[in-house]
């Protein structure tokens, strides 16, 4: 026994030379503690670690899904807002066009009225002027007749005749008409 121990150095009694793995004397010990270890690991993992990690992963997945849904929601809202903006813009443009048209029509109406009024004024003024011109012309004719009568009377007087004013006037009148 002592010889054996010496040859193997510090190898435990009963251990075969070479491989301690084949020392059947330690098997029951290793198996016993291994089973305890495995049961302990199994309970730690299945009762604590794995459900916890699964919950964490599920929660993360849920958060990501929610965030994506929220992002989709916001995107839809943005699109709706853009559509509303576009609609408002189009409405405003139409409104502006309408108002411009209306204003143009109103201005046109005012203008028409003003032009009409101005035309009427111009016509009235022209009529007035014509009347005045006619009056002036009539005045001028009268003056011409007067002058002609006076001149004729003077000429008759100068000729030595006795100028009958009425006769001269009648003669001038008839001549002027003729």
């Amino acid at each position: 026994m002592a010889e054996n121990t010496n040859a193997l150095g510090e190898v435990a009694v009963g251990a075969p030379p070479g491989m301690p793995q084949l020392d059947i004397g330690t098997f029951d010990n290793q198996v016993f503690w291994l089973l305890i270890t495995l049961v302990a690991i199994y309970f730690v993992l299945s009762r604590v670690a794995l459900p916890r990690i699964a919950a964490i992963l599920a929660e993360r997945q849920g958060t990501i899904t929610n965030d994506i849904a929220a992002a989709e929601d916001l995107k839809a809202k943005a699109e709706a807002a853009e559509a509303a903006y576009d609609k408002a813009l189009a409405d405003a443009r139409a409104e502006a066009q309408r108002i411009a048209g209306e204003t143009k029509a109103a201005i046109q109406a005012d203008l028409d009225v003003a032009i009409e009024k101005a035309d009427a004024d111009i016509a009235a003024k022209a009529a007035e002027s014509e009347k005045a011109i006619a009056e002036i012309r009539a005045g001028a004719m009268d003056a011409v007749a007067e002058v002609a009568k006076d001149t004729a009377q003077e000429i008759v007087a100068a000729m030595g005749g006795k100028a009958d004013a009425k006769a001269v006037a009648a003669a001038v009148d008839s001549r002027m008409k003729g």
Binding site: V11, A12, Q21, T26, V31, L38, I41, T63
Partner: protein, 252 residues
């Protein structure tokens, strides 16, 4: 010491000493009973604490926007969950906690084993055999409970030509029963071999002439071992998923 007397040359290799199961308290030669608290117990307990730290404490804030620790926990969860879902389908999801238990235990035990002076629990065939045969029996029982006798259709390759089917059935049965063995030895073998190689390189570092090469070798192998630790946890888990899929959907 006997070692001193024997190792006159100075080169001492004890690559397997790191795998010795010994009582945590008391003398080296004390007997290891089934209830004895050993270094294996310590590192199994540390694996549990690591998992609690990694999966429970980091997620205590339940942040919607995760911090660093919570991201790791979620990454682990998502990784295994997706693996279970992809390989076994929707109806395999209810076995997710068991598969997650396996994955987290193997991953944490492998990484804890990479701490210098630590004890690698998953390098022991006793541990990996329990895991491998546990998966084997669970999956087999589940297959018969879920499918009844039609679970045996797993061994009857209906897409093969009829004369070949009995031959294939024998091969399928053999491969089915080899599964737990390969499942457990793959993990234990990878872990043990890597750690033993690390120790051998470290042993060479005792000789000054080759110490730089040995230390670079240790660093390189350590990097490889980090990779192997993660990959073996992944391989064990995905094979468990594949076996589970066979149990749930035995028809090819």
């Amino acid at each position: 010491m006997a070692d001193d007397a024997k190792g006159g040359g100075g080169l001492e290799f004890h690559p397997m000493d790191q795998f010795i199961v010994k009582p945590l308290f008391g003398e080296v030669g004390d007997p290891v009973h089934w209830y004895t608290i050993t270094n294996a117990t310590l590192w199994l307990a540390l694996a549990v604490l690591a998992i609690i730290g990694l999966m429970v404490l980091t997620t205590s804030k339940r942040a919607v926007v995760p911090g660093r620790g919570q991201s790791i926990a979620e990454l682990m969860y998502g990784f295994v969950y997706k693996m279970v879902e992809d390989v076994t389908g929707k109806d395999g999801i209810k076995y997710f906690p068991y598969i997650m238990t396996l994955f987290m235990f193997i991953l944490c035990a492998n990484f804890l084993g990479l701490i210098p002076m630590s004890f690698t629990t998953t390098s022991h065939i006793a541990v990996t055999a329990i895991l491998g045969f546990g998966v084997f029996f669970a999956v087999t029982i589940l297959g018969f409970v879920k499918n009844g006798a039609s679970f045996l259709g797993l061994f009857w390759v209906s897409s093969a030509p009829l004369p070949l089917r009995p031959v294939l059935a024998i091969i399928e049965i053999i491969s089915y029963f080899v599964r737990p063995v390969s499942h457990s030895i793959r993990l234990a073998g990878n872990m043990m071999a890597g750690h033993a190689v690390l120790k051998v390189f470290a042993g060479f570092a005792q000789v000054a002439a080759i110490a730089p090469v040995a230390i670079i070798g240790v660093m390189a192998i350590y990097g490889l071992e980090v990779l192997v630790s993660a990959i073996q946890a992944y391989v064990f888990t995905i094979l468990t998923c594949v076996y589970l899929k066979d149990a749930l959907h035995p028809h090819h």
